[in-house]
């Protein structure tokens, strides 16, 4: 029987990169006992979330037809697909690797973990992998992802809501809540928590860490890496925020983001090449203070259940270029991009 490693997120923890990487190398993985199934319309396994979370983007034809038994049992096409998938894969040798960050979504719908655990029972061993990152980075990344696809609201109200509700765009930013939710269906020894900053420091990168998790002899160097344009590199936070602030509610346009990014590359040279952030210092402090208790609780859980894993703190403030650090000369440089019409969308 197969072992199952189900990677459920979090969003913006290199999960898209891993999905594309493993999908592109599934033949090699399969030759080494790791099955990364090619199901559904994307390189990930979002189709498997559909018994609990409506995903209209996945067309009906992906689910195939239900058997008579499924119909008689009253299964909808999503449930029938899921159970058929388990039947097809649970008896095989090796490890089945599934990845879909939607499994960790909180709202508007969430996965029923008890039901999920029940449906996955035919696998020999089920482990859930969830990567945590500090809320300062996580909230910013979620907003940036929304900005890239043209769906970001104004940042200030987005942050205020995240701090008040511990939710951002329907995702728990208090990772303890994700863990509590997963534990409604699975036991603590089935849950593997990774720290995003620590995964980036693994000698073989995040992919190498996953290969280690599966006990594979494969190394990252054995895999064909993605082309740079496929790699979903995070946009510069400040460039994205500036473009969004300039054009909202209209889409920012990639050209404007690029123009600001070019300007910021020069500006960063004047500021010790610090990374940009779209927070103010006060907001950064507020995030740390808001989630301090939750993160202490998470630390306690990790200590008890997965000693050796900790949540990395956010970047030290003196390593970041905050919005209020921009000087008049910096703003003039940024405004020049727009004033001189250098931002051309569609470039």
């Amino acid at each position: 029987m197969a072992r199952l490693l189900l990677h459920i997120g979090a969003y913006t923890t290199a999960i898209s990169y891993l999905q594309k990487l493993f999908h592109g190398n599934r033949q090699l993985l399969a030759e080494h006992g790791i099955l990364y199934p090619d199901v559904g319309p994307n390189p990930a396994h979002h189709i498997l979330v559909t018994p609990w979370i409506d995903t209209p983007a996945i067309g009906a034809h992906h689910y195939g037809s239900r058997s008579l038994v499924d119909r008689l049992l009253g299964k909808n096409p999503h449930e029938a697909f899921f159970d058929r998938f388990v039947r097809q894969h649970a008896h095989r040798k090796g490890t089945v690797l599934l990845s879909a960050e939607v499994f960790s979504r909180a709202k508007p719908q969430h996965v029923d973990m008890r039901d999920l655990a029940h449906r996955l029972a035919p696998f020999e061993d089920v482990r859930i992998v969830y990567t945590v990152r500090h809320q300062a980075d996580y909230i910013q990344s979620i907003w940036l992802q929304l900005a890239v696809i043209g769906k970001a609201p104004r940042f200030e109200p987005f942050l205020e809501a995240a701090l008040a509700q511990h939710l951002a765009s329907g995702l728990w930013v208090d990772h303890g809540k994700v863990i509590d939710h997963v534990l409604t269906g699975f036991s603590p020894d089935q849950l593997v928590i990774l720290d995003h900053e620590a995964t980036r420091c693994h000698p073989d990168g995040v992919a190498g860490l996953f290969l280690d998790l599966m006990g594979s002899p494969l190394r990252f160097a054995d895999l064909q890496d993605l082309e740079p344009r496929e790699a979903d590199v995070s946009p510069d936070p400040l460039a994205t925020w500036l473009a969004h602030s300039t054009r909202w509610p209209s889409p920012s346009g990639a050209g404007l983001v690029r123009a600001f990014q070019t300007s910021l590359d020069h500006i960063r040279e004047r500021h010790g090449r610090k990374r940009t952030t779209l927070y103010s210092r006060a907001q950064y402090r507020q995030i740390e203070e808001t989630f301090a208790a939750d993160n202490d609780k998470l630390a306690g859980w990790l200590q008890a259940n997965q000693p050796g894993t900790t949540l990395s703190p956010p970047a030290a403030p003196d390593t970041l270029l905050f919005r209020e650090d921009l000087t008049i000369a910096d703003w003039i440089g940024l405004t020049r991009q727009v004033a001189m019409g250098r931002a051309k969308d569609g470039d």
Binding site: S245, R247, I328, L334, T335, R336, A339, M340, A343
Partner: protein, 325 residues
């Protein structure tokens, strides 16, 4: 007694306004014993400065030094006052008037006076910047400001007025040199024109002076919007549309009627720190000859100005949105 009054500027102290008014009212001035000669094509007598100062071709005359001699020959033996005006006479670099030579050329007059208007250095530097940026690339503001502080010159004109006084004294005696405070003159009841008419001995009633004062020349662009437009456009010339759009953005952030300045508050403070001691030294030197003269230390409205460093994130984001429309 024949008198020659040489108005040497400085730049940006309403010199064009005085020259335009005197040009339009030559007959009136003559009726009051003042000759305002037409020399060259301009309203001011800039062509006389070309004896020593390189100026654009439109100011050229055949023999400017002879023109000075001709004035002395024509009026030196009479009892009228000749008034000539050119702010280029106060230029120090790259070329400057040979004051000793000028004194020799004008010794045919019984009495020769230099009259020089000085304004607070912040107003002067800002006005020079505004003038230079009309249709030309001025270069980064920071470098220009630094040069003005360190070298005490801007665009070849003295910001440390002691340098100008030293230069004038190379040809004229201290009792021949008279200073006018621009800041006090513009605030006075009869305006700067009234002050000058008084200096040259022309008595006109208030209504007459008010009519002469109307229609000031050279209205400047809003300083801060102009600076920002220039900095954004460098190395190209700022387009008037950009200046206007920035004006609109600034206006949206400020109470109506707020005046802006190109300076940051720290820059204004540095100007004061640098030039107040130098101005005090100048006043000590002038006091034996002009005890009543005072020089404003900063613009009178300095506390109410809106400074460049007060521009906040809201302004910049609003400007980005405005400019991207």
């Amino acid at each position: 007694m024949s008198r020659l009054i040489i108005h040497v500027g400085t730049h940006k102290t309403a010199t064009t306004h005085i020259q335009d008014s005197f040009h339009r009212n030559r007959t009136l001035l003559r009726q009051h014993g003042v000759i305002y000669p037409q020399i060259g094509v301009a309203h001011g007598q800039h062509s006389l400065a070309t004896a020593w100062v390189n100026l654009p071709a439109q100011y050229s005359i055949a023999d400017p030094r002879q023109a000075w001699r001709d004035l002395a020959a024509a009026y030196g033996g009479g009892d009228q006052t000749v008034f000539v005006s050119s702010e280029e006479l106060s230029r120090l670099q790259p070329t400057c008037v040979d004051m000793a030579d000028l004194a020799r050329l004008t010794q045919g007059f019984d009495d020769v006076r230099i009259i020089c208007t000085l304004r607070n250095q912040a107003g002067f530097v800002q006005s020079i910047y505004q003038e230079l940026s009309r249709g030309f690339v001025v270069g980064p503001w920071g470098a220009m400001f630094h040069r003005a502080l360190e070298g005490s010159l801007i665009a070849g004109f003295a910001v440390d007025y002691n340098l100008l006084y030293d230069h004038l004294l190379t040809g004229f005696r201290a009792d021949q040199i008279r200073f006018v405070s621009y800041d006090a003159a513009v605030r006075s009841e009869r305006g700067i024109l009234g002050v000058f008419l008084q200096e040259i001995g022309v008595t006109l009633d208030d209504d007459h002076v008010a009519r002469l004062n109307a229609g000031r020349a050279n209205v400047s662009l809003p300083p801060l919007a102009n600076l920002l437009a220039n900095e954004m456009s460098h190395p190209q010339v700022a387009q008037p549309q950009l200046v206007q759009r920035l004006c609109d953005c600034i206006a949206e952030c400020l109470p109506p009627g707020t005046r802006t300045t190109i300076f940051s508050r720290p820059e204004m403070n540095r100007l004061r720190e640098t030039f107040v001691p130098l101005n005090r030294r100048l006043l000590e030197r002038i006091r034996p000859f002009q005890p009543e003269f005072e020089l404003a230390e900063t613009p009178e409205n300095a506390p109410r100005l809106f400074y460049r460093n007060q521009l906040g994130e809201d302004f910049w984001l609003g400007t980005l949105r405005h400019l991207s429309r």
